[in-house]
Symmetry: C2
Subunit: 424 residues, 2 copies
Amino acid sequence: MSILIKNGYVIYGENLDVIRADVYIEGNRISKVGKNLNIGADYVIDARGKVISPGFINAHTHSPMVLLRGLADDLPLMEWLQSYVWPMERKLKPEHIYWGALLGIIEMIKSGTTAFVDMYFHMEGVAKASEEAGIRAYLSYGMVDLGDEEKRNAEIKETLKLLEFIEKLDSSRIEFFFGPHAPYTCSPELLKWVREKADESKKRITIHINETKDEVKQIKEKYGKTPVEFLDELGFLKSDVTAAHGVWLTDREIEILAKKGVTIVHNPASNMKLGSGVMPLEKLLRAGVNIALGTDGAASNNNLDMIEEMKLVSLLHKVHNLNPTLADARTVFKMATQNGAKALNLDAGAIKEGALADIVVIDFNKPHLRPITNIISHIVYSANGNDVETTIIDGEIVMLDGEVLTIDEEKALDKVQKIVDELR
Amino acid sequence: MSILIKNGYVIYGENLDVIRADVYIEGNRISKVGKNLNIGADYVIDARGKVISPGFINAHTHSPMVLLRGLADDLPLMEWLQSYVWPMERKLKPEHIYWGALLGIIEMIKSGTTAFVDMYFHMEGVAKASEEAGIRAYLSYGMVDLGDEEKRNAEIKETLKLLEFIEKLDSSRIEFFFGPHAPYTCSPELLKWVREKADESKKRITIHINETKDEVKQIKEKYGKTPVEFLDELGFLKSDVTAAHGVWLTDREIEILAKKGVTIVHNPASNMKLGSGVMPLEKLLRAGVNIALGTDGAASNNNLDMIEEMKLVSLLHKVHNLNPTLADARTVFKMATQNGAKALNLDAGAIKEGALADIVVIDFNKPHLRPITNIISHIVYSANGNDVETTIIDGEIVMLDGEVLTIDEEKALDKVQKIVDELR
């Protein structure tokens, strides 16, 4: 298939140059970007007054957790987990996970996310939903052994089952990730197994690190070192690791992350809503650490809107440091696009000839996006996910003019409502 | 005119009880709320799967500043003001202000704001735009004399001109406010004049206070006391004062504000984006101060979306205090509705029989607002202004199914684009 998107404001290349141009897509790649392209195409999209942007990469979420959206908020962390989140999660069966993931994926597609990194359980349902919806998905089973050998073997089995399922699915858009949950929930044995298997299979790893003060304290008490030092000494940290949160980090830990080429995924909404803390973004950037962006799960956000997430990054770090020059719009935009792509070793995240066609069209014919002056500023500071009109992933139009083409949205919304009404 | 809104989830009364009901509006007031109201109406709105909410009250903004949206961001405060904001403002003529305000008002109506408090210059244009658009407006001319008597007299003249203009307009929706800019830009003489005139005319006052550390320092150096003590000793502070920001406040100042019944308007996006600081929200609430919510101007936000602003309040205070229980969804929702109404002495801000019909319908048939569990949580944490579908102000439908009925939106968008392209 070929698609010609005409007359838009194109956010071009890694440097985010805004040019008025057309974008021509052939198969799953961007073939040409230029003015007045006179090329026949199977599908022509008129983007007058609209912005052609790279799709957003949600580098850390738990998509089925939309099932828990609004279940409980504003509670102390342990009360929230023990009285609401965990009891609900214990009830979730594979069918529920499939429908939850589908709702989360519809939400992501509608708000301009073209790829996401996921960690949860019954992940085969997430793979199935991703395949049907047409989104790019990096899927991990969240392993937790708490030092128990029997549990460890069961978790390894689940992980290898998912690996096999995804290999059999043989989709160009769906990839397996190892997902050890966190240093405080995984034994050194499990973490070492993951590292070995990742090296052997050339699959990547996602993990949570240093999210709360308390978990850092636990690790220090148990191992006599900080979480990043602990992981580093196990040989765990390499450039194939995408680690979520990184809120409480020492200078030494930042140095190690930079040296090992680990990507840190910032999740400002979740860190703020749970009162976890403020990531040392400036220090990480100065050290040269690749920072991607994620929404985390809907239970702690409570949406999966990457455009809203960008504004939160900028505002959080400006106020926390009383410095309005920090986390500027262009830096944040790159976190949500090309830095995510780098973490995934994905040839997307920027619009340029030859790159994968993961593109969104944002409607600027709206009062809050006018006057059209600084397009990157408007996306980061004034837009939200509802402004995304069309989403193209891997050269396929998955949403056009606000309508998801791959999935029966109404059916999914109703089905999830029914599931949650029954489970609560 | 009468309007019947059927089958919605109604956010009822000051206690925010969510009930499935119909809302019947006669003239400019809510006449009945109940199940299956079988009443003939001039207009029937089907709200199945939708939420009927009190409209939001933007208690502090500078609506024409949408003309400066995206002009410059991420700069040190003084460089931003001196090199971008002030030079642009010097070019603004009455006609520009009219069109800017119109764009800002369209944005507010579309995102569910039914009333706003404004401070700027050439305010007659804002009054005209508000009257045409059908929004409720509380309008002040921002007075700055910097201790200069000639300037003071000119500012007083401008203020009285606006007062006369609004009295002649004789609109039930548009009200005059006195608008002394701030303690550091207004002389004691000017502030005293405002207090006398306010007492005499029974008009209310809006002012900026304690926004930045630096202005507090200036006041202390000049007068040997904090800004709130300074205002209090002038006899300026009474319950007719709505003061924006209140970021840097001492315990003594909070005590005074509570005692005098002053409303503080929180502007989290602006305080965050400009790196101004974090308001002591918990202390203010504990002292019993009425806290309303505002977006501030679009140059420092960069939108006028009160729904987004609610999420920012909650997230900011949770992370700043590392406490997820602070600024819970219901408290924040009240700030954006009934607390604003209280500040304005307006019989709105809650849906109940007899109150003014300032109501919005929010479409929950969207993936990010499902499953429908906790409606207040969904509005605060997951929704945004684009989810508002219908806006009713003073019993008139000003937006229906996303279309503004009172104003030619496309014309306004184009006109503003032309103005800004010429001015830049």
